[in-house]
């Protein structure tokens, strides 16, 4: 059969494609050219989606959170891809549809296949399609379409990623997956758990048996020490003992007229014994409660307490009345009766009033006495001043006379001074005259005179008068004037003092009349005496008032108590119907009640002792029931042992089966690994020359001229060594350690092309997504030449290349004849999807 070629595609609502686009593939080489993110890969993966309903490499957590298949802007929320193939004879139409889901994978798709006049749907269509094209999804991804991710994985530095990529490429992924799916660890865990269980089986039971036996022995010893015999410990003896206890309990119940439930005799086993014992314990509890109720002394005790309280109250009242009367007598003896005390109080109050009045009067005299004393001091002082002046200058008359004399003397001195002044003037005039006239005879007596001598003599005389006489007279006058002034001053002082003295004496006389001659200390003493008396009177009054109140209070209280006592006697009279000897009657009644209570107590104690005895026996029976229970358990454990052995055997059988299964799985795994590595070696050996052919064409490495892929196994896992060789120098290197990114891509591309071009399927299609990434111009040129060569070598295939690389596109256009090449150019991408040029 000739291979099927893709001739037409209609895509809508798929990944980056929203509105419907139609593509026709008419030539062997198709280049889809457009910028990054314009929808090239969407177109390429649409083919994969149409044929298989899924797209490789759309996996990961985020892809499970939204639908990455259906275009998010599509109004119908639906992806639809329609592909038309032909093998030159017949037409194959594949239509795949899918509604928007909540995640990327696991959402149902609708497939319709039309071929040779028939139309198929669903699983049947899928099976038919894969058989017709001779390719399944895994083969498609490794042989038909080279995803960008596949290149990255083949040259990954992580050996596991690389190994899985090679496994996938070589079609061996299935075996790796199966090995990984074999749950060896879980199986080992299960076996281990079974072993643990096996080791544990019976151990616990044996321990329990041992513990129970030890406990039983211990308990038995305790009971034997308490006086029991081994035969008492049997369940049958326990039933007999139970019967005795039950009968005793019934007898006690009858005696106190207590109705108790019937308890059946127990079966000779622990459960029944315990159950019946519990019922008997309930009866014993009832007996306790009932006995305490029947033999209760509560009422009598309460009556005794009441009567004793009455007795105490009478005694207390009597004592209180007696004490009060004694106290009243003492007060009356000392202070008189209440009325006598009142009379005394009235008398004292009168005296208080009088004393207060006297104090007031005397207090009023106090300032006058003080003034009088001051006045007397002042008079003495004035007298002293007068005496002093008189002693110094004489009496007032003497001073007056002296003043007169002084005034006369001063007057005389004034006259003398005036005379001397006149004489001096005369002498001056005479001197002036003589000097002027220079006369030589005296004008008065005519005697001959010498003018010079006379002048000189006169001048001496004049000098004597001026210096000596007049000055002396004036000095004397001044002294006399000072003396006069002094006398006049003292005279005036004496007159003032005498006037003052008279005034003071008048006031003194007046005050002496008012104060009756009392001095200040006398007056003060008098007031103090009166105040002392007042205090004493007040104190006497307070004491009497207080005692009077006390006496009245005692009288009132005694009356009340006598009334209360009478009431208590009345109570006794009414209660016991007696008319005398109340206290003796009361005492006798209390004694009688006490005797009665004592008898009841005695009866109750006897009864309770019997119940306690029953209770004790029940406890011992309880202990015996414990031993019976232990015996039962021990018998049960012993019986269990063979059963446990049986269980152990069953578990061992299960374990053996699981171990056999594990061994079988391990053998299967081992064989798969061996066969897988052998197969990978065979395939790679077969591909070796083809890989190197492509490697040499595309890469043309200047030193490492060959690639070698070698599978190895370690711990059951296959890993692939991807190496480059220099054949002449026999040197090698890992591709991932020394190659550039472009060289690594070229090595991966060579490997893919080697495999894709040597396979045989019925699908004539080879798809390369961005094969020139990271390459320089020279290598792009080499790649373009390789692709042209492939086109020539495989005319039965359509090669579709998607690229954003303008240089590579130009190289392809330049190198490839237009008759075999078709260019689909994407202008831009919008929400509606790619816009084709």
């Amino acid at each position: 059969m000739r291979q099927f070629k893709l001739v037409h595609a209609v895509i809508s609502g798929f990944r980056g494609i929203n509105q419907k686009i139609e593509l026709s593939f008419k030539k062997p080489l198709i280049t889809i050219f457009g910028g990054n993110g314009t929808g090239k890969t969407s177109i390429l993966t649409a083919f994969e989606f149409a044929i298989f309903g899924q797209v490789a490499y759309l996996s990961g957590e985020e892809f499970q959170k939204e639908d990455a298949i259906v275009n998010m802007h599509n109004s119908e929320k639906q992806a639809k891809v329609e592909l038309t193939f032909t093998n030159g004879e017949k037409v194959l139409k594949v239509i795949r549809e899918r509604k928007m889901g909540k995640r990327t994978s696991g959402v149902a798709t609708k497939l319709t296949v039309e071929y040779d006049g028939q139309m198929l749907n669903g699983k049947e269509a899928q099976k038919f399609l894969e058989e017709l094209l001779g390719v399944n999804f895994e083969d498609y991804v490794r042989l038909i379409m080279l995803h960008q991710e596949a290149i990255a994985e083949l040259v990954s530095a992580k050996s596991q990623v690389r190994s899985e990529a090679f496994d996938r490429l070589l079609g061996l992924k299935k075996y790796t997956d199966i090995i990984q799916a074999l749950p060896k660890a879980k199986l080992r865990d299960k076996i281990k758990n079974l072993e643990i269980k096996l080791n544990r089986i019976g151990v616990e039971e044996e321990t329990r048996l041992k513990t129970a036996t030890e406990q039983r022995e211990k308990k038995e010893k305790e009971l034997l020490r308490g006086g029991l015999t081994p035969s008492d410990l049997s369940p049958y003896s326990a039933v007999v003992e139970f019967k005795k206890i039950r009968n005793n309990a019934y007898q006690l119940a009858d005696k106190t007229e207590l109705k108790v439930p019937e308890v059946e005799l127990p079966e000779p086993n622990a459960k029944s014994l315990k159950e019946k014992l519990e019922k008997m314990r309930n009866i014993v509890r009832q007996l306790y409660d009932h006995t305490n109720k029947v033999f209760s002394t509560e009422q009598i005790t309460s009556e005794i307490v009441e009567l004793q309280e009455l007795q105490n109250s009478i005694q207390q009242l009597k004592e209180e009345i007696q004490n009060a009367k004694k106290k009243m007598k003492e007060i009356e003896k000392k202070y008189g009766t209440s009325n006598q005390m009142q009379e005394k109080i009235n008398q004292i109050e009168k005296e208080i009033k009088e004393t207060k009045k006297k104090i007031e009067e005397n207090e009023k005299l106090l300032p006058k006495v003080r003034e009088l004393e001051e006045l007397k001091k002042e008079i003495v002082n004035i007298n002293e001043q007068i005496v002093k002046i008189t002693n110094e200058l004489g009496t007032k008359d003497d001073i007056k006379h002296k003043i007169k004399e002084l005034r006369e003397r001063i007057s005389e001195l004034e006259n003398e001074i005036e005379k001397m002044d006149v004489l001096a003037k005369l002498l001056g005039n005479a001197i002036s005259y003589i000097k002027a006239t220079l006369i030589d005879t005296c004008p008065i007596c005519g005697a001959e005179i010498n003018p010079q001598k006379v002048t000189s003599k006169l001048e001496r005389k004049m000098q004597e008068i001026g210096i000596t006489t007049i000055q002396e007279l004036q000095h004397k006058k001044k002294e006399l004037e000072a003396t006069l002034k002094n006398f006049e001053k003292h005279h005036e002082t004496l007159e003032t003092l005498e006037k003052k003295l008279n005034e003071r004496k008048n006031r003194e006389k007046l005050l002496e009349d008012e104060t009756k001659g009392l001095t200040l200390p006398e007056l003060r003493n008098k007031i103090d005496e009166l105040r002392g008396k007042l205090r004493e009177l007040l104190s006497q009054k307070d004491e009497l008032t207080e005692k009077q109140k006390e006496l009245n209070k005692l009288e009132n209280s005694t009356k009340k108590k006598e009334k209360s006592l009478e009431n208590l006697y009345e109570k006794i009279r009414d209660r016991f119907a007696v008319s005398a000897d109340y206290e003796q009657v009361l005492a006798a009644k209390i004694d009688e009640l006490k005797t009665k209570a004592s008898e009841i107590d005695k009866n109750r104690t006897e009864h309770l002792n019997k119940i306690r005895d029953l209770e004790e026996k029940l406890n011992i029976l309880g202990e015996i029931a414990e031993i019976v229970e232990m015996d039962e358990k021990i018998r049960e454990y012993r019986k269990l042992m063979p059963e446990l052995q049986k269980q152990k055997k069953k578990l061992e059988e299960k374990k053996d089966k699981l171990v056999t299964l594990l061994e079988a799985i391990e053998k299967v795994e081992k064989v798969i690994s061996e066969v897988k590595i052998e197969a990978s070696k065979d395939v790679l050996e077969m591909l070796q020359s083809r890989i190197n052919e492509f490697y040499s064409e595309i890469c043309g490495h200047p030193y490492f001229d060959n690639l070698k892929i070698k599978p190895t196994t370690r711990k059951g896992k296959t890993t692939y060594e991807f190496k480059a060789y220099n054949t002449n120098e026999k040197r090698e290197t890992y591709v991932v350690t020394r190659f550039s990114q472009a060289q690594m891509n070229e090595a991966a591309l060579a490997t893919f092309l080697a495999l894709a071009t040597t396979q045989k399927t019925n699908l004539g299609l080879l798809i390369l997504d961005d094969p020139s990434q990271n390459m320089d111009a020279e290598h792009k040129q080499s790649l373009a030449k390789t692709i042209i060569k492939l086109t020539e070598q495989m005319p039965q295939k359509t090669i579709i290349i998607a690229t954003a690389d303008q240089q590579f596109q130009n190289q392809l256009e330049n190198e490839i004849p237009p008759q075999i090449s078709q260019k689909i150019e994407i202008k831009k991408w919008t929400k509606d999807g790619p816009t084709l040029k």
Binding site: Q180, L187, L661, V675, Q759, K760
Partner: protein
């Protein structure tokens, strides 16, 4: 250019594995055939699920028998 049919490799490998396992025992071959069948029916997850079910079956087997015995 020499082409070879890779599509047949898988079938050959399955057979080869079976052949190699035949030397070890009939039960193991049976297990392998079951694994292949489980894989074809539901992939690796089905393989895992079926073997775990097998383990559970072995573990439960005796208990069921016991229940029958008890009844």
């Amino acid at each position: 250019m020499s082409e070879f049919i890779l599509e047949k490799i898988e079938k050959e490998l399955d057979k080869k594995i079976k052949m190699n396992l035949q030397k070890t025992g009939k039960d193991i071959v049976e297990l392998w055939e079951n694994i292949l069948s489980w894989y074809n029916d539901g992939g690796v997850e089905n393989v895992k699920r079926q073997i775990l079910a097998l383990i559970d079956k072995i573990l439960k087997e005796k208990e069921d028998e016991e229940e029958v015995e008890e009844r």
